[in-house]
Each structure stands twice: as structure tokens, then as C-alpha cells.
């Protein structure tokens, strides 16, 4: 899957950054600089994919 990034600029000026195609902690690293460029992080919500992907990778490594 290609690595990408979505930036949503809301009508009130708030911004959401959503990395695409990254797994687990890699996505935090990938977007840290982008987040810093845009402003101050108010919150960071990990989705189900954050936990799923590293588990999948670990299972594949064990197999």
C-alpha cells in the first residue's frame, strides 16, 4: 500500500492529520514533523489499525 497523508482543514481552522499506509508506531514518526509544521497537537487518537498492524507483523515474523 502506498504511503500517504490526509490533512483535513475544518471550517473552524482546526486541522486533522491522518497518515495512510503506515503501521503502528511508524505512523507517529512519519507525521510528527508534519504536525509540528502545522501547529500544536491538541490530541492524538490511535485507531484500531495502530494495534492491529504490529500484531499482524509479529505473527508474520513468528511464522
Amino acid at each position: 500500500m502506498s504511503k500517504g497523508c490526509i490533512i483535513d482543514v475544518k471550517p473552524n481552522g482546526e486541522i486533522e492529520v491522518k497518515p495512510q499506509g503506515y503501521s503502528g508506531p511508524e505512523c507517529l514518526k512519519a507525521t510528527r514533523e508534519i504536525e509540528r509544521d502545522l501547529g500544536e497537537v491538541e490530541s492524538r487518537d490511535k485507531t484500531a489499525d495502530y494495534r492491529k498492524e504490529p500484531e499482524k507483523q509479529a505473527r508474520e515474523a513468528q511464522a
Binding site: 490526509i6 483535513d8 486541522i15 507517529l28 508534519i34 502545522l38
Partner: protein
């Protein structure tokens, strides 16, 4: 997608602020140290969004480092430099800011969103997300930028 970060936009670029203003028909005047407003603080407005409530000293009203001027608007937007080097925008919102809210949105929302979009484009390119850059407007007015590395 494994996480979503919610970010409070920081105004750090005067150049992008000028571009955002220009996209709404305004002009950023660098070095203009006063902006047009009612001209007198009557101590009659203390809502959450009021400058006074947000820590701005009324004695500084009308003073700024740069200003944004929109044609046919009675008042102007003041651009004030913060101690950390970022900027804040300030305006007199009495009766729609003398026409400013019609052009820039309530609370300068359109101007802020335009700045965010320009900053988003710049940031994606700077961080290597340069392929298939796409900009779409969602039904709730959110402007979505997406790009691939």
C-alpha cells in the same frame, strides 16, 4: 490509518497569511502598526471569543505589527506578533466587524481555513508527499488535502 492527530493551527508565516488574505480579496500591509476599529473600548463585551477574555489588554486595541485590509470593509484585521514568534489575528467584531465577517467569516473562520489549506499544501510538499496531491471540499465545509509519498 493508525492514528488521527488534532492540531491547533499556528500562524507562523506572514507570506502564507498574505496569500490567504489575497484569496479573499484582501491585502496584507506589512509594517502597518494600527488597524481600524471602533476606536474606543467600552468595557461591554466579555464573551468567550472576546479579545479581552483571551488575555488581550484593551489598551493595545488598534495596535498591531501588520494589518490586513479588505476593500469596502470599515474595519481592518490586526496581525500581532506573539512572544513565541507566531502571530494572532485580531479585529473588532461589532456589527459584523464593519463588513469583515461577511468576507472572512465569523471569527475570521474563512481566512483561518484558507491559511490552513495553504500551510497544508506547503507542508505536504516539504515533507515529501508530492504525488497525486488532491484538494476536495467535504459536505461539512472541511477542505481535505491528500497526497502520496
Amino acid at each position: 490509518m493508525s492514528h488521527v492527530a488534532l492540531i491547533e493551527l499556528a500562524f507562523k508565516s506572514i507570506e502564507l497569511m498574505a496569500e490567504a488574505a489575497a484569496s479573499l480579496g484582501g491585502k496584507l500591509v506589512c509594517g502597518q502598526e494600527t488597524y481600524k476599529w471602533y476606536g474606543m473600548w467600552l468595557n461591554d463585551y466579555h464573551a468567550n471569543e472576546a479579545a479581552v477574555t483571551q488575555g488581550v489588554n484593551p489598551k493595545t486595541f488598534g495596535k498591531c505589527d501588520h494589518a490586513i485590509v479588505f476593500p469596502r470593509c470599515q474595519y481592518e484585521v490586526g496581525v500581532v506578533r506573539n512572544k513565541d514568534g507566531s502571530y494572532k489575528m485580531i479585529y473588532d467584531n461589532y456589527i459584523g466587524g464593519g463588513g469583515l465577517e461577511k468576507v472572512c467569516g465569523k471569527g475570521l473562520s474563512k481566512l483561518t481555513q484558507n491559511y490552513g489549506v495553504k500551510l497544508g499544501h506547503q507542508t505536504l510538499k516539504k515533507r515529501g508527499f508530492k504525488r497525486k496531491l488532491k484538494e476536495t471540499t467535504l459536505p461539512d465545509g472541511t477542505i481535505r488535502l491528500e497526497a502520496l509519498k
